[in-house]
């Protein structure tokens, strides 16, 4: 991977964080302010990315939409990872029969496409930001859990753990001080990849009207709203779409770079 790709990706992610944490700094306007007289304005100096059917400024909405995408991306990944650590660690350390049970459950969940499972969960909970987080988090957990389990199983039989046993460490200390931190280290790269993936899924759910509801500025929802006017106002879909692609690709590039680094250690 080229150096410039990594630098560019890092900049995109930093800008994304800035957009999410301090949107007013980059776009002081109100993302919800309606101005029907300025509907469907082309991108220009007055409106960098143009305006939508209600005359809302797309640029302001894209910037303010970063918050939701970041929150869903991080929260969903954190939820998935948290569940995975618990399930994976329990499976790796428990007696064989329990390990088998957990594994079979994970495999069954793994067999269902993640997005389908997210839809299933939303069918029970109803649409919204919270349900979207839960849905994406739950559907990524089985994949992570299997990785955590295999990491911990390898570490469990390592000399490092034997040395800890000989030094008289309790099982709890061994898990907390050695097993989990060392199992997570190589997963950090995957988490970064996962955030990019979670952003896409969150956008996909909103696109289907199952995540953040309009008129709140969310990239997926904006993409969906612009879809109707694609022949008339291409900019309504293009800019939120670019934002999703830029963030997802950058997170992937950084994740890959981290992955390479972990391997070379």
């Amino acid at each position: 991977m080229s150096r410039s790709a990594k630098i560019f990706s890092t900049i995109v992610i930093l800008v994304w964080l800035l957009m999410a944490l301090a949107p007013s700094l980059l776009a002081p306007g109100d993302p919800l302010a309606i101005n029907p007289t300025e509907a469907f304005q082309k991108p220009g100096l007055a409106h960098f990315f143009g305006t939508d059917e209600s005359g809302r400024d797309i640029y302001t909405r894209v910037i303010h939409g970063a918050g939701d995408s970041l929150a869903i991306g991080l929260a969903a990944t954190a939820l998935g990872m948290g569940l995975a650590i618990i399930l994976g660690t329990v499976a790796a350390l428990s007696p064989r029969w329990l390990d088998e049970v957990i594994l079979r459950v994970l495999e069954a969940l793994y067999a269902i496409p993640s997005l389908l499972m997210a839809l299933l969960i939303i069918a029970f909970t109803g649409p919204g930001v919270g349900p979207a987080i839960v849905a994406v988090g739950l559907s990524t957990a089985p994949g992570y859990a299997r990785l955590v389990r295999s990491q911990i199983r390898n570490l469990k039989n390592s000399e490092m753990l034997e040395a800890a046993t000989v030094l008289g460490r309790s099982n709890w200390l061994k898990v907390r001080n050695h097993l989990i931190p060392n199992a997570l280290k190589p997963l950090m790269a995957l988490v970064t990849l996962g955030i990019g993936q979670a952003v896409i899924w969150a956008a996909a759910l909103s696109f289907l009207g199952l995540g953040t509801a309009p008129p709140a500025p969310e990239w997926g929802a904006m993409l969906s709203a612009g879809r109707v006017y694609l022949h008339l106002a291409w900019w309504m879909s293009l800019f939120p779409g670019l934002a999703i692609v830029a963030v997802a690709v950058s997170a992937t590039v950084i994740g890959r770079a981290l992955g390479g680094k972990v391997k070379s250690l």
Binding site: E162, A163, T165, V166, L167, S170, N182
Partner: protein
């Protein structure tokens, strides 16, 4: 010295990215002679050997390199390929790594012939069988069809040697070909090298251990920091070493050195057998009838021994004899099928972990590969803080003084505290492992091949350190090794293991002086000695 000269090398220098690894080395290999190149890791001996095969990988310059009458100074890759294998070849170090586990060894060995000869397929198979027979491989025709994983350790070593010999080379280089092998395999390889010499080939033998080469080499060249510091006929180098460094290497060989006499020059001089106070009280460690099987394989059978306080029991045997399984049962890492372990008069195994938690810190362990036993995320200081605090913290500054004391006790600089163990040398890592094991002030240390991965000169300093710690603290050692000379130097008592059983045990003097069992005599006969 009338023998035909096979290799003449003059003024060889090799550097890697401008950093010199070998400086102005000259050497001569003659037919029917063994030249030994001796020095510690990083002294440039392997780079020198590889340069003779055109494989150094660095920037090479020399004023002369003649291999069997051919000027090899400016050969290109394809010309080197013609020489490698049938004029000069190399016996590799690690049989498990060097042989492809998925192919029959006969095919691996025959590959060399495809490149270098016009033999037909049937003739090649014939030649492979011949060369396997010449290295005393039992059933060569059967073995040629098997994969390396199906062969015993000894057969793998033979296959590896056969691979180097199949092209009938006039010069054979053996790069640490005996390192990490137990005494029987070492004896086997040395006998094969002697046979090569008797066949009139030239042998260049590379080793870090003077004792290994003493009986085989006609000439010895001692290397240090990329230079040959001393060279000459074997008897002269061993009996009248001129260079300080040669004397250091000679002193470092533990065989025949009295108990507690220092092996390294930094080791403080002490009376050869100092007064030791034997604390009254129970045995430090005793094992009674320990047995362990894995499936049908009996790893350890009815092993019993006693370790009095403040002394060392050496447990010696070949690889696969059950030493490590015994150590793991003693440490409570493996539950014995039957039998018991008592630590300081109290039951230690078999017990559930919580039941023996009080006793845990009375016993520590040192492994062959210390790096694997450290959490890779911890620095030197954090490892010791963690050990001192019982795992509660790796950053607690209140242990700072104790950390310094431990580092001082194992002669490591306190400047290393913030380093990662990965950045330490092999000897430093083992010192760190010792420091960590000492943190809870144990009564017993179980040392499983603690110096087997170290050069002889580094081994000497670690053994001296262990001696010193035992004298200062009265810690008892269960010292496990395949190396008889190390066991002889370190132990008060010796137990010889063979096929899962202790076949003979007693004081070091009685085992080494008047062994009762044939197997023990065989081991002792295979032991390389200097003195």
């Amino acid at each position: 010295m009338s023998q035909q000269t096979l290799i003449t090398l003059k003024d060889l220098s090799v550097s890697f990215d401008g950093a010199p690894a070998v400086k102005n080395i000259s050497l001569t290999v003659r037919a029917g002679q063994v030249l030994a190149l001796v020095g510690e890791s990083g002294s440039g001996k392997s780079v020198t050997a590889r340069s003779l095969l055109g494989l150094s990988g660095g920037q090479v310059s020399a004023s002369e390199l003649t291999i069997c009458g051919r000027d090899a100074l400016n050969l290109n890759d394809s010309a080197w390929q013609k020489i490698r294998g049938n004029t000069i070849s190399m016996i590799l170090q690690d049989a498990l790594m060097a042989l492809d586990p998925l192919r029959a060894v006969g095919r691996e060995i025959g590959d060399g012939l495809k490149e270098h000869s016009s033999l037909s397929r049937a003739q090649r198979v014939q030649r492979v069988h011949e060369v396997l027979a010449s290295v005393n491989m039992p059933d060569p025709e059967l073995r040629a069809k098997q994969r390396s994983t199906e062969l015993s350790g000894g057969m793998r070593q033979r296959a590896l040697i056969a691979q180097a010999l199949v092209g009938n080379p006039q010069v054979v280089i053996a790069d640490e070909a005996t390192t990490a092998l137990d005494s029987q395999l070492t004896a086997l390889v040395l006998a094969q090298l002697r046979a090569l010499k008797d066949q009139g080939r030239g042998v260049l033998m590379i080793s870090h251990d003077l004792a290994q080469v003493a009986h085989l080499a006609d000439e010895i060249a001692v290397m240090r920091h990329g230079e040959i510091v001393e060279s000459g006929p074997t008897a002269q180098v061993l009996n009248h070493p001129q260079h300080e460094y040669t004397r250091q290497l000679l002193q470092a060989v533990p065989s025949g050195v009295p108990r507690f006499a220092p092996l390294s020059i930094t080791g403080a001089p002490r009376p050869s057998v100092p007064e030791r106070q034997t604390p009254a009280g129970p045995l430090a460690l005793s094992a009674t009838n320990l047995s362990k099987s894995f499936g049908k394989h009996v790893a350890v059978a009815q092993v019993s021994f006693e370790l009095p306080q403040g002394t060392t029991l050496g447990l010696v045997g070949e690889s696969g004899s059950g030493k490590t399984t015994t150590a793991r049962m003693v440490l409570g890492l493996q539950k014995p099928d039957s039998g018991t372990v008592d630590l300081l008069g109290e039951r230690f195994a078999p017990l559930h972990e919580p039941q023996r938690s009080q006793l845990r810190e009375r016993m520590g362990a040192i492994y062959q590969n210390p790096l694997g036993s450290f959490d890779p995320r911890y620095s030197v200081g954090q490892l010791l803080t963690d050990a001192l605090s019982g795992g509660k913290s790796k950053r607690d500054q209140s242990y700072s003084q104790q950390v310094d004391q431990l580092l001082e006790q194992v002669q490591l600089s306190s400047k290393l505290r913030s380093r990662s163990p990965r950045e330490l040398s092999g000897g430093q890592r083992q010192r760190l492992a010792i420091a960590r094991a000492l943190a809870p002030k144990p009564s017993v240390l179980v040392l499983d091949e603690p110096v087997s991965a170290l050069d002889v000169s580094i081994q000497a300093t670690v053994l001296d350190l262990l001696d010193q710690i035992q004298l200062e603290t009265g810690t008892s050692y269960l010292f496990i090794s395949h190396d008889l000379s190390v066991i002889e130097h370190m132990s008060d008592y010796v137990a010889v293991m063979h096929q899962g059983k202790i076949i003979e045990q007693g004081t070091t003097a009685s085992i080494f002086g008047s062994p009762q069992e044939d197997y023990t005599r065989k081991l002792l006969a295979a032991m390389p000695r200097l003195r």
